[in-house]
Subunit: 220 residues, 2 copies
Amino acid sequence: VTSEGPLSWLPHPRKELSQFTPGDGVLTAPPLDDPLNTSAAALRRIIDALARTAPDGEHLPATSEQLLALADSLEKHTRPVPTQLFEMWQGEGIARHDPATGQENPMAPPLQLFDGGDGWAVGTVTLGLPYQGPPGNVHGGICALLLDAALAVANHLAGTNGMTAKLEMSYKRPTPLSVPLTVRSRQLSVDGRKRFTMGEIVADGEVTVSAQGLFIARRA
Amino acid sequence: VTSEGPLSWLPHPRKELSQFTPGDGVLTAPPLDDPLNTSAAALRRIIDALARTAPDGEHLPATSEQLLALADSLEKHTRPVPTQLFEMWQGEGIARHDPATGQENPMAPPLQLFDGGDGWAVGTVTLGLPYQGPPGNVHGGICALLLDAALAVANHLAGTNGMTAKLEMSYKRPTPLSVPLTVRSRQLSVDGRKRFTMGEIVADGEVTVSAQGLFIARRA
């Protein structure tokens, strides 16, 4: 596992970028109708259901045995990490695995972002109990995860990528669970290798969290 | 679901705080030997194994059917969100569900933090492919999630809580997957209702990411 290589600083592969032009829609990898995507979607439901389950539920012993058996079985079919790492960065690559936007990552809500015009990447997401920080509200670190991913997508939309150098999160009010949140981001300016990008989360018409990011492009 | 209530700004419940005094060890809720904790641990292995699986694996259709059936079954045993919200904030509460540190949250690695003396909360965590951002490295948003949680724990250790107002992340170098990372945090100072807290992630002896947080305590 190394951070080197031509794609080492790219949060999303070039091919993804080439797949859209401003105005034509989705900026994140769409769901596929295959068993891996179906499995990830089912796991999201399982994670959410467990968060809404009484810890002494009578069905839980059988559930835990089923899950342990499935884990044992799946671990027999895995590929070595270096092989998987190489393969997963081909094609749509990490866009499918990203912990914020990846359809194939059960931890990702997933956040889907669309071209909102005028340089904006925009999406809507509703988060359940697994994403909780303070009671009834989204964890501040989950807000940072979503915005970090959204800023990277806005950079792609602008056509100038970079690696995150700084991310300044400003928490203005609680971000509620269980209601639709708008996540939007856009690149503000470019100064040499520096890209300045912002994003925010909006609930019920009010900005709850904003982010300012500084990204540095690789030397040519 | 509301952000109001006596615990609305607390990332961890009071009882957790009362359970330790400086010097006596673990600052995050330890794993329990029960089916819910076992299920969460098994789900972590499943999520990790799927990230290391070829998307065309022949076992995946059966896996997806098993997971869908399990999701259907578990959703029949859930409690209403308001009931669950109330219950989950009793006792150790959110400490068990936190998306960064919660033993019962399958998305959490989970990060366990200990009293490192001199005000430091310290823990070690190794992250696999589900937490990937750039190839072979941890997602910047996941670093923010871990540090946001670690700063909250450092505030608890210092005995002065607050709600996150600002979080400034500085990414100095890539944070590698698959190697042990040290996460450490401590409160720096208190000025009225303001608490200034810092944290960092260390890999191979070098700081990869640092965070500075400003937290605001509730009015008395």
